[in-house]
Symmetry: C2
Subunit: 459 residues, 2 copies
């Protein structure tokens, strides 16, 4: 690997410049106003792959953001790896909380700060750069690597979901999927994530009077949609942190004692955690530790609330409408469709006279967990040890990568979640960042991974 190491060392600045170029593109997939930027990011990806001589194509689906596919030549007798990542990003608001503009990448204390830095442009790019190193330094890769980089991860991977159902499975056929869209356990403690939570995301819109009314003239005699929204959302979780939707816990895969012990052995500091996020206490489902609650127990979080007057000063309106975005994080074996059905009934039961209720479901995905005995995990662990100089720990993650479950099911492939990020990277929040040292360690680990995977058939 010394030729590769040399190439990686010599091109650090180039890699960072390229990451900055990609981060300057405001590829916010949720916002139709940014559709052109999303396409610019896809074009940028295509150009990168073509420069390396990879067979590259843009996969278009009507009404969706494009996917970018690329592959290195086949290597008979060796495993095929599919790198999955995404070039789209979350919206950047609240804008006024960013220290530097979200789409002007800025270096600060060894980090690159920009929307998408860690989720997922920076992490995803590590695999492209490791392939570049193999090609430029060695001339070819020891296994076939395929890339599927999509532009809708932050809005539910619609195009990819459809593609997997239709003819995508053939093109994407592989033995293992490699994804870097998670975090290390802590700075200097690289990790392999063997479990993810699923998600069921909902928007609840309540309509009362046909327009905002004077709360004096009408108050008391009209059902208030904002009060009703509070009642409904409040009913979702009881005072012990337990979700009240009937059947919600029926299919929950319980945490094994072995896992609970392994989590406890990670010496997670609750105090440091609270300092990191700036709170003086935490709450959650009773009977579980903070790590268990975040990694392996289901939740219900309100993601947004809107109703009535939100400006300066006071306005005495009885709002005509109130709406909420909220989502459940799910653990393995919970079924999002079943929860959506039960939720709808639960909320309809609580919808009073004078209120029209509309519940829409968007992203829905089951949780995911793989066996700790899986041999790809061992190969990845060796690669990470070589890239980071440290053995990784095995962890679960509270976030969801909905497509992981689909890959596992449709491609019958194992999935490696190799996170180079950190839990305080402000993913989805203002001042998102990615540690540049970890960016380069990720590239080194990825380069080593292709060699480790090539060796697997020999073992």
């Amino acid at each position: 690997m010394s030729k590769i190491d040399a190439y990686l060392n010599d091109h650090r600045q180039q890699f960072e410049n390229e990451l900055s170029d990609l981060l300057r593109i405001a590829s916010i997939s949720a916002d139709p106003a940014h559709a052109e930027e999303v396409r610019r990011a896809a074009d940028w990806m295509v150009e990168q792959f073509k420069k390396l001589g990879l067979a590259t194509e843009m996969i278009e689906t009507a009404g969706c953001h494009p996917m970018v596919y690329a592959e290195t030549p086949a290597v008979p007798g060796k495993p095929i790896a599919l790198v999955y990542g995404h070039y789209d990003v979350q919206p950047a608001d609240p804008l006024d909380e960013w220290i530097s503009p979200p789409f002007e990448p800025t270096l600060r204390e060894g980090n690159i700060v920009a929307r998408g830095a860690t989720d997922d442009k920076g992490q995803m790019l590590t695999h492209l750069k490791s392939v570049e190193a193999w090609i430029e330094a060695i001339g070819s890769l020891p296994i076939q690597v395929k890339f599927l980089i999509e532009g809708e991860e932050e809005v539910g991977s619609r195009a990819l979901g459809r593609y997997l159902k239709d003819d995508g499975a053939k093109k994407l056929a592989c033995d293992v999927v490699v994804i870097s869209d998670t975090s290390q356990f802590a700075p200097g403690r690289p990790a392999i994530t063997y479990g993810l939570r699923g998600i069921a995301y909902f928007q609840l819109r309540l309509t009362g009077p046909m327009q905002d009314l004077h709360s004096g003239t009408f108050g008391g005699g009209v059902t208030n949609p904002a009060n009703t929204l509070a009642k409904m959302l409040s009913a979702l979780v009881d005072d012990h942190g337990r979700v009240q939707v009937p059947g919600f816990y029926d299919d929950v895969a319980p945490l094994s004692e072995k896992e609970r012990k392994a989590f406890a052995d990670l010496s997670f500091s609750e105090e440091e955690f609270m300092n990191q996020i700036g709170v003086s206490g935490v709450t959650g489902e009773e009977g579980y530790t903070t790590l268990e609650r975040r990694w392996a127990r289901p939740t219900c979080d309100v993601n947004g609330l809107t109703s009535g007057y939100q400006g300066e000063g006071e306005k005495t309106v009885l709002p005509g409408r109130a709406s909420a975005k909220f989502s459940f994080r799910l653990v393995p074996n919970q079924r999002p469709e079943r929860i959506a059905e039960s939720l709808e009934l639960f909320l309809r039961d609580r919808c009073p006279a004078g209120i029209e209720m509309e519940l829409t479901s968007s992203t829905a995905s089951a949780g995911f967990v793989i066996s700790l005995e899986n041999p790809f995990l061992a190969a990845a662990a060796r690669a990470i040890e070589s890239g980071f100089g440290k053995k990784p720990v095995f962890i679960r993650e509270g976030g969801s990568i909905p497509i992981v479950v689909d890959f596992h099911r449709v491609l019958k492939a194992d999935v490696l979640l190799l996170g180079w990020g950190l839990s305080d990277d402000n993913t989805h929040g203002p001042n998102e960042k990615f540690c540049l040292a970890d960016f380069h360690r990720g590239i080194r680990s990825s380069a080593a991974l292709w060699a480790e995977l090539a060796k697997m058939d020999e073992e």
Copy 2:
């Protein structure tokens, strides 16, 4: 009165033009960005009074919008009337629901449509125009009329409240205060309002993590301020529509059986009411009719909600902050300060670990009710009968005019609430309107009122 009638008939168009002029001024007192417009409205009022030869002055208070004072000459031996009104208006949003721009008055189906049309520019102006008629047609008024037109009614009448406490009481000394800022009972059913609700308005700000977090990585392990806000607001009112803040009902003046019967006799149609506001049902405090709930029972209405992501699509954030505006309408004898204290304790009790809570109180005012035997009511009833061609009914109103209670207490004056508006005027909402026929009937009634008040000493 025929000279006055003639003058009123001849100047209808001029009056409407002047009303439009005033409505074009976006005097939104709650929004600091509109401070200049607020002053323009005050200047406009001053000019109107000066044109009539009234002794006029602008009363300035540091940091507040100005008040405009004017008076006609004293008439010894006759009662003094003080007309109170306001030239400021509510914010105009949601702007996209206005059919025509809020500050471009438009005639539609006999109504003038604009922010402030009924609340209170149009109604207030009726008294100025009736005084104009007396002066121009007769040469002088039969009683002394004073005017106090303020610019902070929609934000709590701070300057006026202070003025009344300080040296205002001498200048404003009077026997009766005349206010047109309420509604008729129904179209063609003019009313005198003998009771108002008070108000206690609050803003609740909850702060959790120092910034928005990823709801997957953190959800379940961090107290969510939006979920907490829902819990707190939900706790304020039980499933029977009863406010749960301890002591809330302790001082409530109960409705007399006589009043309940009088309300019932008004043949209020619940079905028409529901059609008017576009709902298929209503809810409220159990055991009371809709009119009772709106006029004479206290309430708790959420006026606004803000938290997390409110844009298009979905965003999986655990919000760092959540806030609500909410208010209680109070009935006579309830004490806003006492309720604020109890509320603060009630909410603190429900504030979980990991959440900082800030409760701020803004407008606070007690309810108001005057005896149905009051002789000024009889004089006003005769004036309205002459202006509208119909006897008024005696009603209460759910809204609050905080300064009414202060007038009553400080000036020891009776207060006449003579509403020319209609309950579907969209006060505080989009497409606020005022019926022009009622504008002119209001002017006629006001002109008659000065004569009726002058006769009172003779009875």
